[in-house]
């Protein structure tokens, strides 16, 4: 039996969704029998192969994240969003109400612990977008598992539904935004 190929990325977020995924405990062994994890932050593989399921944690706040997301979308049959940041913008989007120059200045120059500093401007540093976007505002998303982080049970439920060939929609009692 060929295994279902999965890739995942974390964009602007805290990695909490991936940690919550690891909280599925022994179910991960079962999952490993039918799923092949390709590029994920856990496997540290850099290239995107063509996958069945692409998973994205985090919102889109800079040009690099936008590029990675678009690449993942292009390589995935189904794209699943994990967590409040990916689904709604989440905590990362708190900066969206402010001007990005203000945000950079506050973060790099005005921080109480900073004495002499400037805003990073090397060409290697990806530029901030004006506003943080949930992933469905950048690419098409097929299914969502909200939560901050999503509960392990909800993540497992969504994966199992996908493996069974259905597009998951979390039942009301599994929905969480916190």
């Amino acid at each position: 039996m060929t295994k279902v190929k999965v890739a995942s990325v974390w964009l602007e977020g805290c990695s909490g969704c991936h940690m919550s995924f690891l909280d599925i405990d022994e179910a991960i062994i079962e999952l490993a029998d039918v799923v092949e994890f390709t590029r994920t932050p856990i496997t540290d593989i850099k290239e995107f192969p063509q996958v069945d399921i692409g998973i994205v944690e985090g919102s889109v706040g800079n040009t690099e994240e936008e590029e990675v997301l678009k690449e993942l979308r292009a390589h995935s049959k189904i794209l699943m969003a994990w967590g409040d940041c990916a689904c709604f913008g989440g905590v990362c989007a708190m900066r969206s109400s402010f001007n990005k120059e203000e945000v950079l200045k506050r973060g790099y120059v005005e921080t109480e612990s900073t004495c002499k500093s400037k805003i990073p401007c090397s060409p290697g540093v990806p530029a901030l977008l004006d506003q943080v976007k949930p992933v469905n505002h950048v690419v098409k998303v097929d299914c969502y598992v909200p939560g901050c982080p999503p509960e392990a049970g909800a993540i497992l439920y969504a994966l199992k539904e996908l493996l069974a060939g259905r597009i998951p929609v979390l039942p009301s009692d599994m929905m969480r935004f916190d």
Partner: protein, 663 residues
């Protein structure tokens, strides 16, 4: 009410004429999601969550504002309506900055619950991410506009339930916002901090500083009790977690007596006064030092017995704060008047009692405070006269009953008040006599009414008329500083009213002028209600349990004891303050000529520093005891939290002292 029949979701259901479609659904247990709707408030159809399909209507309509009719065919749930509801939720989530993960209300939010229910796992609309302010200028409340969905519940509650109407919508369209007064910070506005807006807010837009992040309702124990702070006797529902008060709400805001004020809702949670945790005894170096409670009780009993033997029973005076419970006060009276046998027993607010009683006796009426009417009557009145009081400050819930009634066009409010307090601004008519001429103003008003001819044509009205025969309306109104037009208008309002009531308060009682109370009672005799025997008058008493203390006869002394300690040759003073925070300035001449001062108090106030022995008191939330409301109903409170070790009920300590003295 005529019965009507509707078809809802294919089923025949009964309704009443005048009901909305939502009311019919609720009466028939048919669930319709709502956000801006709240029992007790006028429905406005702001949120559109309750949209339903009605046959022959071109588009879905909000059930909360659609009048039910006979034969109406209604559909409350189908795929299309659920799609619309989810769409509305997505619009709400993208309109402002709803970030559940860092919101105080997460887990207790109606917006969030509906999003879960309608499986809103993403929002398709462009996010506005508006930059919105957060108003934390109020002592207790924060308005975070980021989380507001503009449902208007707070605004309608502030207007229709609380009667203050501080909150309203400001700006227009896209910039629409809840504002206080003319867009003032809440802390600088006419807000009375009653917290009703916080209780009704469906999201985390209005929250209480000391309740935030302390625990979600499902993690808390719920305890129902009565608030004994001002004597109105409001029902409260407290949420308690780990022996800590998380929040206090009204069990039913839609009930006509369901309002709470900042004292009941917030004071217990924001209490920063330093507590007396154990007995304190003045040592050889003159400093108060902590001692075990039994040891302190022993010293008190011995010392009191010694002074009693040396100087006689009346060398010991007992003064209590009327904030103490009936249970504490009974034990206090037993110790002072019983065991010690002293006549010198009084309450700190004894002068107010003496003024009221002398005033009542001045009319020849029998029954003392029993002649007063009940607070309930304020709710039935169509004309309310407030004399020398700011009930929104002293008894805010009673103030709300009055201000709320005055907002309704059929109820008139007459304020008789010479001072600068803000309550008369709520009045339909403000009679502003010169300071000190209040009594004359009241008499002139009575005389005007009698000259106009009162409906209450009884023997007592004649008595009043005789007693006012020397009043000359023209001359005396000028003397009192009241315009004749105003007088006539007031008389007109009162004669039109079917049920008027007089409410007077501390500004009047402060004058210690019984004749003024007598005049008010005369006015009550010729006005009031035709079908009520009792004069419709009620006094707003100084402390939460004033009526209880006075009913127990603790203030029966003919003069103030606290003001006459020296002239009575008092050698020892027992002060029961309980959870009343008393400043030393309220207790003049405390140390003059006194050999021994015992203060039983919950708090370390400047007063307690004058004591030789300080005994700890619990606060009301730590004991379940009896209190009497200002209109004479005796109610039991429940214990909300446990006191810390070593704190006993006042009555227990007082009884122990009594027992030891009897040994």
């Amino acid at each position: 009410m005529k019965e009507i029949m509707l078809t809802i979701n294919g089923k025949q259901v009964k309704g009443k004429e005048g009901d909305t479609v939502l009311e019919v659904c609720e009466a028939n247990n048919i669930y319709v999601p709502t956000l801006c709707h709240l029992k007790g408030l006028t429905d406005v159809g702001a949120c559109r969550m309750c949209v339903v399909e009605i046959e022959r209507e071109r588009r879905p309509v909000p059930a909360c504002t659609y009048p039910a009719r006979d034969g109406l065919v209604v559909q409350t749930h189908n795929e299309k309506l659920d799609k619309y509801r989810r769409l509305i939720l997505e619009l709400m989530f993208t309109e402002r900055n709803h970030l559940c993960a860092q919101c105080v209300a997460s887990g207790d939010c109606e917006l969030q619950s509906l999003a879960y229910k309608y499986q809103m796992d993403n929002a398709r609309y462009p996010y506005s991410w508006p930059a919105l302010p957060l108003d934390s200028a109020n002592d207790y409340l924060v308005i975070d506009h980021n989380r507001c969905i503009l449902c208007g519940r707070c605004i309608r509650t502030c207007d229709e339930i609380v009667g203050v109407h501080t909150l309203d919508f400001g700006h227009r369209g896209w910039k629409d916002m809840v504002v206080a007064d003319l867009n003032q910070p809440l802390g600088a506005s006419s807000c009375i901090s009653c917290g009703a807006c916080f209780q009704v807010c469906p999201t985390g837009a209005i929250f209480s500083k000391n309740s935030a992040y302390k625990g979600k309702p499902e993690e808390c124990r719920k305890v129902n009790s009565i608030c004994p702070i001002c004597g109105v006797g409001c029902e409260i529902e407290a949420l308690v977690k780990d022996n800590r008060l998380v929040r206090i709400d009204s069990p039913d805001l839609s009930d006509k007596r369901g309002i709470l004020c900042h004292k009941g809702r917030f004071a217990p949670l924001y209490n920063k006064n330093e507590r007396v945790k154990t007995a304190l005894v003045r040592n050889g170096r003159g400093k108060l030092e902590p001692r075990p409670l039994p040891e302190a009780i022993d010293i008190v009993a011995k010392k009191l017995a010694e002074l009693k033997a040396k100087y006689g029973n009346n060398s010991i005076a007992g003064i209590a704060s009327s904030q103490a419970s009936n249970d504490s006060l009974k034990a206090f009276k037993e110790l002072i008047a019983g065991t010690i046998g002293s006549n010198l027993i009084d309450t700190l607010d004894g002068d107010a009692y003496r003024t009221i009683i002398k005033g009542i006796n001045g009319t020849g009426a029998k029954g003392g405070l029993e002649i007063e009417t009940s607070l309930e009557e304020i709710l039935n009145a169509d004309c309310i006269i407030v004399v020398g009081a700011n009930p929104l400050e002293s008894h805010p819930v009673a103030g709300s009953y009055i201000a709320r009634a005055a907002r309704r066009s059929k109820v008139t409010l007459i304020a008789i008040d010479p001072s600068q307090n803000t309550f008369p601004y709520h009045a339909t008519l403000w009679l502003k006599p010169q300071e000190g001429n209040e009594q004359l103003a009241v008499d002139v008003l009575s005389k005007t009414i009698i000259q106009k001819g009162t409906k209450k044509d009884s023997a007592r009205t004649k008595e009043v008329a005789t007693s006012l025969k020397d009043i000359n309306v023209k001359q005396n109104s000028k003397q009192a500083g009241i315009g004749s037009d105003d007088l006539l208008e007031a008389a007109e309002m009162l004669s039109k009213a079917k049920h008027s009531i007089i409410v007077y308060g501390e500004d009047i009682l402060r004058h210690n002028n019984p004749a003024l109370i007598t005049s008010l009672l005369k006015l009550a005799t010729i006005t009031g209600s035709q079908d009520k025997e009792k004069p419709q008058i009620i006094s707003l008493k100084p402390k939460g349990n004033s009526r209880g203390a006075w009913n127990l006869g603790i203030a029966n002394s003919s003069q103030s004891i606290i003001k006459n300690l020296t002239s009575n040759n008092v050698k020892a003073l027992y002060l029961l303050l309980s959870d009343d925070y008393v400043d030393a300035s309220e207790l003049p001449n405390l140390s003059k000529g006194l050999e021994f001062i015992v203060i039983q108090s919950s708090y370390l106030a400047s007063a307690t520093s004058k004591a030789d022995i300080v005994l700890p008191s619990p606060i009301w939330a730590e004991v379940g005891e009896k209190y009497t409301t200002l209109d004479g109903l005796t109610e039991s409170t429940s214990r909300l939290i446990k006191p810390s070790d070593g704190i006993k009920a006042d009555a227990e300590i007082l009884r122990e002292i009594s027992q030891q003295m009897k040994k």
